[in-house]
């Protein structure tokens, strides 16, 4: 999916994360997490694989994580991408 507009999903509450996506030529991911030391690698893996499953190849993805579970991270990224793109979602791909 092509990122065409700025979108937000999530919150800054504990156990959640705020995902901000902006249009950009390249794909760039910035992760800022309270638990970066312990789970930084795992978080990045979840973020990258979620974006890959949605075919996102461009955009600036900024994540402020407050210790969210993997399933929450996936859900928030999916919402943010759907809001940031004019392409129709392939719902079967999101499950």
């Amino acid at each position: 999916m092509k990122i065409t507009q700025t979108a937000l999903a999530g919150t800054l509450e504990s156990s959640d994360l705020l995902v901000k996506i902006e249009p950009s030529e390249q794909l760039e991911i910035v992760i800022n997490s309270d638990v970066n030391k312990q789970f930084g690698k795992q978080i990045r893996h979840v973020v990258e694989s979620t974006l890959a499953s949605l075919n996102v190849n461009n955009g600036l993805i900024i994540i402020d994580d407050k210790g969210a579970l993997d399933c929450v991270i996936t859900a928030r990224i999916q919402s943010a991408v759907l809001r940031a793109s004019k392409d129709k979602a392939q719902w079967s791909e999101l499950l």
Binding site: T6, L8, T11, L12, E13, S14, L18, K20, E22, E28, V30, N32, D34, L60, I62, D64, K66
Partner: protein
């Protein structure tokens, strides 16, 4: 854990609410900024215990009552502000805070840009904002001695042209940044176009659109205030520090040119602040930038300035305007103002 309810105000008529916000701000040594578009308050048991204001894309006046500090209310509060701003289409946000509170806002996804130790820190809600901007600047980088002028050019006059010509003689390359904030009579697009046309004969001049990082509502809020009495020294310092620490190094700018300012108090104070914040060794670890003031050119015993041109335009004295602007600006004015032969 206390969960406050949040409420957004766009202009407050209720004196009781206003007073309690003022009291709350006072309890953390802040004053209510008169230019806020929106104020979000957090309420616990009918008491206002937290507030944050939004002035266009700048978050100001953030306060949490001392009894409620340390309970993560700042996160919920800023979250409300982020959503409100996003709804208004404002995505790139700035925030002013005291340096000792920077860590609170780092936790909300804000990153520091420039700081006056002990006084104020400017933060933005992206980790890559200013670095991306500098990367776009680096593409324009030239070798040799480089200078810069920052101008609003509202509109571009023969005075601006003179300043550009004089400055261009003193350096190998001259960058002209045109302030991009749309708070002037002429739109930023028109101002940029007229500067570009006006200096097109100068082969070593590169005209660049300004950005949120050069004399914008974020870096220098008081520049755009109608009443020019309030001169916020600290804002000016932040604006100049950003220029010195990010923009000038990206383009190897070692000189900044400016016209002498006989009338506008704000511009004059900015010129003075420039000498202090760009030239002093002890204000920043970034290389110093020499500030060069060039005397304004005059016509009919008075300096040529954009404000003089604007006032003549208001009075419909177009022939007098003609004498103060270069042909390219005149062509635009002729086209867009109903000018009859006088």
């Amino acid at each position: 854990m206390i969960e406050p309810t949040f409420k957004t105000f766009s202009g407050i008529n209720d004196q009781v609410v206003l007073d309690s916000i003022k009291n709350l701000l006072q309890s953390v040594n802040l004053n209510l900024d008169p230019n806020l578009d929106h104020i979000i308050v957090g309420i616990v048991e009918k008491e206002i215990i937290a507030c944050a204001g939004l002035d266009h894309n700048v978050i100001k006046c953030v306060a949490v009552h001392p009894n409620y500090q340390g309970s993560n209310i700042t996160l919920s509060l800023i979250n409300q502000v982020l959503e409100l701003a996003h709804d208004k289409g404002l995505h790139h946000l700035f925030l002013y805070t005291k340096p000792e509170n920077v860590h609170l806002f780092k936790a909300c996804g804000f990153y520091p840009i420039a700081q006056l130790p002990g006084i104020i820190t400017l933060m933005e809600n992206t980790p890559v904002g200013i670095s991306h901007y500098c990367n776009t600047l680096v593409k324009q980088k030239k070798s040799g001695t480089c200078g810069a002028i920052v101008m609003n050019a509202n509109p571009f006059t023969s005075g601006h042209l003179y300043l550009a010509e004089q400055a261009a003689k003193k350096v190998d390359w001259l960058y002209i940044f045109v302030v991009s904030e749309d708070a002037s009579l002429f739109s930023s697009e028109v101002r940029y176009k007229l500067v570009k046309e006006g200096v097109s004969h100068l082969k070593n001049v590169i005209v660049l659109p300004g950005s949120a990082y050069i004399i914008s509502k974020a870096t220098f809020p008081s520049y755009f205030l109608k009443e020019q009495t309030l001169i916020e020294q600290s804002y000016m310092a932040i604006d100049l520090l950003i220029f010195r620490q990010y923009i000038a190094p990206a383009l190897s700018i070692s000189k900044r040119f400016v016209g002498t300012e006989p009338y506008s108090e704000v511009t004059n104070a900015y010129n003075q602040a420039m000498k202090e914040w760009l030239q002093s060794e002890d204000k920043s670890t970034s290389p110093t930038i020499t500030v060069i003031e060039i005397a304004r050119v005059t016509h009919d015993d008075d300096v040529i300035s954009a404000s003089r041109v604007r006032s003549l335009l208001m009075q419909k004295k177009y022939q007098q305007v003609h004498a103060l602007v270069p042909p390219s600006t005149w062509a635009y004015i002729e086209q867009h103002y109903a000018i009859k032969n006088q």
